[in-house]
């Protein structure tokens, strides 16, 4: 009878490891700590005040791991098809002879544990044991809708984070349910492989298989090494072959504090961390958390140097602000309410908003656009509805908030709107706090801006009409339709009109091909005049409004074609088809040109004029922008 069950398959199709393994591996031990503690908080018993979690780093003998010989038989039969997979398989196979093995256990107390172990792989959603043990990417819903939304996980794939930190992608778990029934399970993630002339699926389950109904059932927790003991209700995760770089005690302590400081300060959870190898231990509750964030062994807490890890600041802000501000942020169709704990502190070099789920786990250090280097710190917490909405914007490992994580266009728009409103709101709050706190700035006299606006407005009104020649005698004034999305604030409006009066060239980033030392820009249409005559065309480029242009003596001009969709194409004009020669206005100098570029055109008095002699009567019906390249040391 086998200890590990791999499903038999007809042929091998996929020869790569599950992609989530890599993405969780990159998150390091923090990813694993987050996923498991989050699950523990979600599984809290209603009758208990707080969840307790015990994390232990230790060693086991190889022989204490059930089914390990079988595991290595399967590992040995894997065959990689690309370099990365081959390297990883070799690495896994190299672990076979090790005898003293690193192991991490994460055990929770005052929690529900998994239920329905006896039913094995039942496929019923109330049997949480079955879905935890035997399904990938499955997340069982809680009967109570509100707790469901505020629960941490939503991608249902977090449990693979336990496999990801094991050298051989192996994890076990022990469960004790409400009736005191104790079972063990586990899983290993390999690639599809052939063992003893049989093809197997990538995932193996530490389980027995019922010969009649072909379902998997867990083993009862009898006769295993004491590392598998789980005597009180709850779940214990056992990760053997823990990668060496993840056995760092300090990193684990920091991962706990960084992510769950709100849950700890709210006294929803206490976490004990024991390192048996180095004989260290720490008990993290509200009181000791305050000491840890002050301890330089764990955290940089000299304020002017805090630029990456903000936990000491968040803890301080969350503790010191007694009455959080209620803020409302709208999306397109909803209003979300948050509690904002906000602190202005001149010593801080950078500002972040720690966005936290109502269950107490931090999601992200949110950067407020354009306000990244402002002296503040904040913690933002919503309720179940807000959690649900934030969840849609999170990535798989719950560490990033972005509308790009949503594929549906409408919801994406909605999320973008929300994020931009959140940014605006935060910007205003930060601005207000800075004005409040800077004493000497005084009030700005803005009356002159208003009167200037008045005069520029009437000027602009007359300018925003254009002459339309109806026939040779009469001329009409036609209103130019300028697209304006919404009325702007008056002050911004005056800046806006200034810009349209004096259009600046659009600078282009140099492409790799372009030589260093050249600068390229697209000229505004107002700086170009093009006249078509019967046998030639004249183009006049006016550089007068361009900063630094007085020093220029030569430029290359590229004809950029704009297609019907508004896309620009740099190699689509056909100058050699349309023109026989290109010269300066007097015709004394011929310029070199290819299909889309004219080279070394003279600039005199800030003007370039070129004369293009037509080739027969080719009619050109393309629309152009003009790209100008100059040597940048001239600028």
């Amino acid at each position: 009878m086998n200890d590990f069950q791999f499903a038999k398959i007809e042929y091998i199709e996929n020869t790569t490891f599950d992609g989530s393994l890599d993405s969780f591996y990159e998150k390091g031990i923090e990813g694993t700590i987050r996923e498991n503690i989050q699950n523990s908080i979600d599984a809290k018993l209603e009758t208990e005040n707080k969840v307790k979690v015990r994390i232990v780093l230790g060693k086991v003998e190889r022989s204490e791991l059930p089914g390990i010989n079988e595991v290595f038989q399967h590992i040995d039969s894997m065959e990689g098809k690309n370099e990365y997979t081959i390297e990883k398989i070799n690495y896994m196979q190299g672990r076979k002879e090790e005898n003293s093995i690193n192991v991490l256990t994460i055990e929770d107390l005052n929690t529900k544990g998994l239920s329905g172990a006896k039913n094995g792989q039942s496929g019923r959603s109330e049997d949480t044991f079955g879905s935890y043990a035997y399904r990938k990417g499955f997340h069982n819903k809680n009967e109570n809708a509100e707790t469901e939304i505020s629960r941490g996980g939503s991608h249902g794939i977090g449990k693979i984070s336990n496999n990801a930190v094991s050298d051989i992608n192996l994890m076990y778990f022990s469960n004790c349910d409400e009736f005191g029934e104790k079972h063990v399970g586990g899983s290993i993630h390999l690639i599809e492989h052939n063992h003893d002339n049989q093809d197997y699926r990538a995932t193996g389950y530490f389980s027995k298989k019922d010969a009649y109904n072909n379902r998997l059932y867990p083993f009862e927790n009898v006769g295993y090494s004491k590392i598998f003991n789980k005597d009180t209700r709850g779940l214990k995760i056992i990760i053997p072959y823990l990668r060496k770089e993840f056995t760092n005690f300090q990193e684990i302590v920091k991962a706990v504090c960084d992510n769950f400081f709100v849950a700890i300060l709210n006294e929803n959870i206490e976490i004990e961390i024991i390192d048996k190898i180095q004989d260290k231990n720490i008990y993290i509750d509200k009181k000791s958390l305050l000491e840890i964030v002050e301890d330089r062994n764990y955290y940089e807490n000299y304020k002017p140097s805090i630029k990456k890890i903000f936990t000491p600041l968040y803890v301080q802000t969350f503790q010191e602000v007694i009455e959080p501000t209620k803020i409302k942020v709208d999306s397109l169709n909803e209003t979300y309410e948050f509690d904002l704990y906000f602190k202005y502190d001149e010593e801080l070099p950078v500002g972040r908003v720690g966005i936290v789920r109502s269950m107490g786990m931090k999601i992200v250090d949110y950067k407020v656009d354009r306000y990244i280097r402002r002296p503040y710190n904040a913690v933002l917490i919503g309720g179940p509805k807000e959690d649900g909405f934030l969840k849609t914007m999170e990535n798989e490992s719950h560490t990033q908030l972005s509308a790009d994580n949503i594929k549906n266009t409408n919801s994406k728009k909605n999320a973008k709107k929300f994020l931009s409103n959140l940014t605006k709101k935060m910007q205003k709050i930060i601005d207000d706090s800075i004005t409040r706190n800077s004493v000497d700035s005084g009030e700005l006299d803005t009356s002159h801006i208003l009167s200037e606006l008045d005069s520029t407005f009437s000027k602009n009104l007359s300018k925003s009409t254009e002459k339309v020649q109806v026939d040779s005698k009469t001329s009409l004034l036609k209103k130019k339709n300028k697209e304006r999305r919404e009325t702007r604030k008056e002050k911004e409006y005056s800046i806006q009109t200034k810009k349209t009066q004096n259009r600046t060239p659009r600078k282009l980033k140099p492409s790799e091909k372009e030589e260093q030392g050249y600068e390229a820009m697209i000229l505004p249409n107002s700086s170009v005049e093009r006249i078509s005559l019967s046998d030639r065309e004249i183009i006049k480029l006016d550089f007068n409004n361009i900063e630094g242009s007085t020093n220029w003596s030569e430029c290359d001009i590229t004809f950029v074609v704009v297609d019907g969709m508004g896309q620009e194409h740099q190699q689509e004009a056909r100058l050699t088809d349309s023109f026989e020669s290109i010269t300066n206005p007097t015709g004394s100098k011929h310029y070199d040109f290819n299909d889309y570029k004219i080279k070394n055109v003279e600039i005199e008095n800030n003007l370039s004029v070129i004369n293009l002699n037509k080739n027969g009567d080719v009619k050109d019906s393309l629309k152009y922008l003009y790209k100008v390249e100059v040597e940048s040391h001239d600028i």
Partner: protein, 246 residues
Amino acid sequence: MNIKLLADGYKNNHYLFEDFKNNQINLDESYFSEQNIYIENAPDFPIYMGKGKESYKREEFIKAVKIIKDHYIDTPRDIHLNGKFWHSLLITSKRDYLLNKYPQIENAKEFYNIVLKKFDWENYIYKCVLAAEYISDAGLEEEKEEEYINLIYNNLDVFNYIIKYEIFRNSKFLINLLDIIKEENYSSIFKKKILNRPDLGDDERYGRRVIFELNKKYPVVLSPFMDKDDLKEQVKKALSIYYSEE
């Protein structure tokens, strides 16, 4: 019948595929929204013509366009041009049909590539929906319809480029262009690769460049709204830029 719409973010939902595969799709799961769409009748139709013999792919394409034209495109455009609607339809009511017809979708990658493929010009349903719309808008007789669907299939590469540019998305332009291709016997030339022009990229074909030239000249030359004869002039002009008999 009522089609329950998938919820936002369903493509990121990893258990949607698992549940589909294991026949455990549950309308109460979080990957469904609360919205329903009612359609009179939702017959099966082929959704993928990426593999197989040419004659088979053609039959499938014609069949799909006809069924979509007869049963689906009378819904408002925001329904039949919305990928979520089609994905919801496939997930909720076409599992057996799809698994039987495209057994490869038991593999996650193929599932996303065939069933939940992004709804744009590379998606076969999208192509068929637009083809069905244009054929229906043209108001053709029944035997003519099949002829034009055939023409679209024969010139699928050009059709792809037409629907890629929004300015060309109208029935009259498509029908005119197909007529021109037929009258001038351009079909095989349009599919040919343009050789000796490394500046154009690896896979430039005459047909694609013709469509692109028309796009470049728009709106100076309003080819999407031209009569067939004027359009033919433009097409010839565009083709002559690239084509020279040797």
